[in-house]
Every structure is written in C-alpha cells, then in structure tokens.
C-alpha cells in the first residue's frame, strides 16, 4: 500500500478544492442577491467569492499552468461546480421559439427539440445558460446553430425569427384562479440563409 501520508495529502487537497468550489458557489448566490440574506452582506460575499476564485487559480490568465492544472483536476474529478441545484430559488424556465417564414408566405412556429427525454433535459440546461448574462457573448452563435438545425429539416424556409424569453409559471394561487404562464421575450434574432449556405 502506498504510504498513508500520500493518501492523506491527496485527501486534504481534494477536499480543500471541493470546499472552495462549494463556498464559491454559495458566495456567488449571496453576492447576486439571490438569497434571503440581507443585502449588506453582498459586498463581503463578492470579496469572499474573489478569494475563493483566487484559491482555485482563476485569477491567472488562461494559459497559466496553475489555473490549467487546477481546472483539469476539477473537471476530471467532476467537482468543478458546487451543489446548489434548484437553489436558492427556482426561477422560471426559458423558451426559444422559431418563427419559420416559408417561401410561399406561410408561417410556422417551432422549438428546438431532441428525440429522447434525457436529451430534452440537456436542452433545458442549454436554454437556462442562454438566459444567464454570463453567456451573453455566446447567445447569438448558439441560437444561430439551433436555427441551422431547424433549417436542415426544412430547406424551403426563407427566413427564421428566433425569439428567446423567460416563461414565468403561475403561482399556486394564480393557477387556482385559472391564470396560465407568462412569456416575457428577452431578445430575438432574424436569420436568413445566404445562397452558398443553403443545405
């Protein structure tokens, strides 16, 4: 058996990283004012989040070996994100609706989809990420890719308008009063294929 000291050292480093990742996630929620804690704690939470990010090597520029090594280990061990699933609150869900304008003038509405239920959960994750401001630079690219996947199935579509928005489900009392969910558009894009891109 390898020396117990080696195991204990690995154990200490491993759980130090897990603790740091978990606290970083928790501080991030407090700093974003997503919790019931008083807003006076926001500044401290933001500072604490930065300390946690520093401990995880995130302060270094991307080619840094320290940052790279820590990130590789975290991903390899599946511990790169904290355990704040469905917390602190469950927001509405996001929806992407494609308005398909056909060459003959008629219009259809479609949403991106997978054939299996397991993959549908993944699509939900993707849409949740698109709604997150941190993914703002990727939004147009991802929506364009999703539009392209629709285009492959319907080559006679002339133009696609993609509307992304947040769906707020009714509260229990609203549901009892017969109210449904509310769709609040966040952004939309118009896409049309250039001749050379047509499938």
């Amino acid at each position: 058996m390898v020396s117990k000291r080696v195991y204990v050292t690995w154990f200490a480093i491993h759980f130090f990283l897990i603790t740091t990742v978990c606290f970083a996630g928790l501080f991030s929620l407090v700093a974003e004012r997503a919790t019931i804690l008083p807003s006076a704690l926001d500044t401290y939470a933001r500072k604490a989040e930065l300390v946690a990010a520093f401990l995880l090597g995130k302060h270094a520029a991307p080619p840094s070996p320290v940052r790279g090594s820590i990130a590789t280990y975290l991903h390899a061990a599946g511990i790169q994100s904290g355990y704040t699933f469905f917390a602190p609150n469950i927001p509405g869900y996001h929806k992407l609706i494609f308005e398909l304008n056909y060459q003959d003038g008629h219009i259809e509405y479609e949403s991106p989809r997978f054939s299996g239920k397991a993959a549908a959960l993944r699509l939900d994750s993707l849409l949740a990420r698109l709604g997150d401001n941190r993914y703002e630079p990727l939004r147009e690219v991802v929506v364009k890719m999703l539009a392209l996947s629709i285009w492959r199935e319907r080559p006679d579509v002339k133009k696609i308008r993609a509307t992304f928005g947040l769906v707020s489900p009714p509260s229990i009392s609203d549901f009892e009063q017969g109210k449904g969910e509310l769709f609040e558009p966040m952004f939309s894009y118009d896409f049309s294929l250039r001749d050379e891109e047509k499938p």
């Binding site: 058996m1 204990v8 491993h14 991307p62 991903h75 355990y83 991106p112 993944r122 939900d124 991802v142």
Partner: protein, 317 residues
C-alpha cells in the same frame, strides 16, 4: 508533540477503517448500470449532441472551446475525432465507436470484467462527452464523472467481480477499501450540506413555491398541476423537509441511531425526484452513491444485524 501524534493517529483511524469489499461491489455494479443507462438514454441523440457545426443541434466545437478556455488538457471528443481522422475514420464513425465503447465498458463494470481498464475507459469517454457537450451538461454529468473517478482509483476488483473468478489475485487491503469508502462518504456529506444550505437561503423552499415551480416546469412536469394542487398544503412542509434532510445529512448519517432513517429519507427523496420529475439518471447515480457509501453494512432497526457481511460504518456519536 504527543498530543499531535495522538491526533494524527485518530485521523488515520478515521480515514483508514478496515472494510470488506461489499460496498465496492455495489459501487461497481451501480456505476456500471449508470453508464449503461446513460449510453442507452442518449443513443438516439448522441450524434445530434456531439457532431460539429452543420450536423448537430449545437456544435460540439463550441462546447469544447468553452472547456478549453479553462484548460486545454481537459479531455474532449474532439481528440478522438482528430485521432480517427489520422487513421481514416470519419466523425460519425468515431462518435459511434465512442458510444459503443462506453456502453461496452458499462457492461464490463456491471459483470466485473476487466474492472480497472473498464473504469478508466468509461471515465475518459464520459468525461469527453460531458466536456464536449458542456453547454448541454447538467448535474447528473458531474456526479457520473465523480463516481467513475472514484471507481477507477478504488482497489478493484472486488470479490464478486468476474475478474476475481478468472484470475486469482489477493484481496485488496481492507484499510485501503475503507479509505475510498470514507472519501465517498465525506464527499456526499459535502454535497448535501451545501445543497441544503443553499436551499435554506431561498424563500421559495420555506413556502413550497419552489417545489411547485420545480414540478410544473417543462420538461420536468410529469405530474399534472391539477393533481399537485390537491397537495398544496403539503408543499411547504415537503420543501422544508427536503432542506432539513439535506443539511442534516452530514450529522445524522454518522449517528448509529439515525443512520438508517436518514438513508431511507434521502433514498426516498431521490426516488421521488426520478419518478416525479423524470430525472432518472440523476436519481440513479445519487441512489448508487448513497447505497455504496452508507447502505452496505447498515444496521436495520428492529432487526439489529448488518444487511451484509460487511462491517458497519463506524459511529462517531
């Protein structure tokens, strides 16, 4: 100095308890089953999920670029595709082979054939898939990676594995078995403590609105809201109970008197998540992790003997 040495000895005793390999057998079979189910669930969408621009739903290259931003050393399906191109295999063929290999490795783990190589290959392939589909990943992926990571490091094979029947090797060190079980146990305590704490900080878990929202949002809405509304007074109680079960886990799971009760509660919670929200992969991996960490050798109240021949997890209170 003596005090320090005594503390060090106590720490070693805690981290290296003698264990049999019953928990490892459950862990191996459970993770193998998880890998098989994961592969089968994604069989129809595998190419849509992981193809490059112009073929898949979202380009694999985009997910890989995000993963590479953190570190270029994180494994990706792109590596396999690039290698396939060197030997004349197209992207579609490489993706199909990767899927078939993953399924095959899951089956090997299930029966205990080539345990260590199967665990390493399954970990690598699953990690490649999870990272290449980073934009489409969710919580279950992290837990599957974590389970495969611990499995490939654990002292395989266990006595129930086919490997042990084919090649007579000596049984692993009981203290090493204990160490890896302890790692799994402590990791689960972190998972539930932080999960419970984050939930307690949200007002929606105190008034039941979070449970309501979780259960009526697509694609998790397996139950009709008309049925749910009949239990509206139970939702706040259930919400608080979930938080208490999670935050109390790192304390009550170690106590001899409460361990069985807490384990049943947490397993019921995960089974309910699977059945009512359709998160089967997530539910299965959490049930496997809990059974391996605390389920084997547990004392069942009113019966009073361990459920298997394994020694009971040590009580600290």
């Amino acid at each position: 100095m003596i005090l320090l040495q005594r503390q060090w000895q106590k720490l070693l005793e805690f981290l290296f308890p003698a264990e049999t390999d019953g928990w490892l057998a459950v862990f191996r079979v459970g993770v193998g089953l998880q890998v098989v189910v994961y592969a089968l669930f994604l069989r129809r969408d595998w190419h849509s999920l992981f193809s490059t621009t112009g073929k898949g739903l979202v380009s694999r290259e985009l997910g890989e670029a995000i993963a590479s931003f953190d570190s270029p050393l994180i494994p990706k399906l792109g590596w396999l595709v690039a290698f396939g191109q060197l030997i004349g295999l197209g992207e579609g063929t490489v993706l199909s082979i990767a899927w078939a290999c993953l399924l095959c490795m899951g089956c090997c783990l299930l029966v205990g054939l080539f345990c260590r190589p199967a665990a390493i290959i399954a970990w690598f392939l699953h990690l490649c898939a999870a990272e290449s589909g980073a934009l489409l990943a969710y919580g279950a992926d992290n837990f599957i990676t974590m389970a495969l990571f611990y499995l490939m490091l654990a002292p395989l094979p266990d006595r129930y594995a086919l490997d042990r029947r084919l090649v007579k090797t000596k049984l692993p060190d009981p203290r090493l078995l204990g160490f890896w079980r302890r790692v799994l146990q402590i990791h689960l305590c972190f998972v539930y403590f932080f999960g419970g704490l984050a939930k307690l900080l949200g007002s929606g878990w105190w008034n039941g609105s979070n449970l309501w929202r979780a259960l009526i949002r697509p694609p998790l809405n397996l139950l009709s809201p008309d049925i749910l509304i009949r239990f509206k007074y139970a939702l706040p109680i259930l919400g608080i109970l979930i938080c208490l079960i999670e935050i109390g886990y790192p304390f009550f799971i170690w106590m001899k008197k409460t361990r069985f009760f807490w384990l049943v509660c947490i397993l019921t919670m995960h089974a309910a998540i699977g059945l009512t929200m359709g998160m089967y992969l997530f539910a299965l991996v959490m049930i496997v992790l809990n059974l391996a960490a605390f389920g084997i050798g547990i004392s069942i109240p009113f019966i009073g003997h361990p459920a298997s021949d394994a020694p009971r997890p040590r009580s600290f209170f």
